[in-house]
Subunit: 103 residues, 4 copies
Amino acid sequence: MDVIVDLCVVPIGVGISVSEYVAACERVLTEAGLTIQLHAYGTNIEGEWDAVFAAIKRCHEVVHEMGAPRITTTIKAGTRNDRKQTMAEKVESVERKLKTDSK
Amino acid sequence: MDVIVDLCVVPIGVGISVSEYVAACERVLTEAGLTIQLHAYGTNIEGEWDAVFAAIKRCHEVVHEMGAPRITTTIKAGTRNDRKQTMAEKVESVERKLKTDSK
Amino acid sequence: MDVIVDLCVVPIGVGISVSEYVAACERVLTEAGLTIQLHAYGTNIEGEWDAVFAAIKRCHEVVHEMGAPRITTTIKAGTRNDRKQTMAEKVESVERKLKTDSK
Amino acid sequence: MDVIVDLCVVPIGVGISVSEYVAACERVLTEAGLTIQLHAYGTNIEGEWDAVFAAIKRCHEVVHEMGAPRITTTIKAGTRNDRKQTMAEKVESVERKLKTDSK
């Protein structure tokens, strides 16, 4: 089962700046061989369910090891069994609609 | 690693009423032996990370088997390594603060 | 337009314990006359859209005033125009399905 | 109070494809003069709190007008009072950390 995920990991109890921890998660996801896309409020991930969620668990472990005593994470997870769909296709699908309507 | 989760599974493409699918997820979570608490916009779950996320994956499989071609799920996941904390303690902690302040 | 919301306000940069801030938000929501229900990973709110979102904004203002330099909040917001639905009805609807199926 | 938001509007009861509704929301946000960035699981928005949330409310109204009887929306909202921060800066901050560490 493939999944497209939006992941936002928030370390609590380590001060105001969280970019160091987000960067560490990016490395975990990349090393797991997943297709990812960083955006301003999280990271989109595309892959097989087990691989994606194993990497998300690893993010929590790594962020705790970096010193964060507490983590709160928000995940959106989308699956479909009618057809395959990539992250790029989701964006293109909306952009195509926007172009058609503006003609 | 223990985790407290807030889970909200939304089937897409099966009409307006989603309670049948939410009930199916409740059964999946209960049969997995997890401590759960249904609320008006999701279900809180308490348990070991792997057991909780295996059950969430099973929810997606079951909801697809019930006929939903597409699912979008929102998950909040909280971990901490400074101390153990239950769902009940999180609620009590806030309620205690509310009582103290109203004195 | 009525809305049912799940609100989770997370102050960043003020240490590990957040219950004090959550309690402050509970008071803001209650003083706004909204129907609320605290749970282990947020607070459910029921009310008219403008009243609910004005109270959520007030939560951010109050949590900043309490000393949090940064806040990240997760909101689920549900609206429907086919019929009225309360938070209690959403829970009852799922519990009814669970009872029927276990017969 | 400025806010950075991640918005994901999901129409329920209108079939499997939701891109038409997402495109309509993009137009609402653009017409409101907000800085936005579409990604694979939502849209990032940057602006003043009241303008951003007025536009989100308008998204719900428009998606209902298009025929969706029910909508469930997920919002992440970040505010800070220690300094100004744009969406672009949030991404750059993480990417700078990634470059530094790979040297």
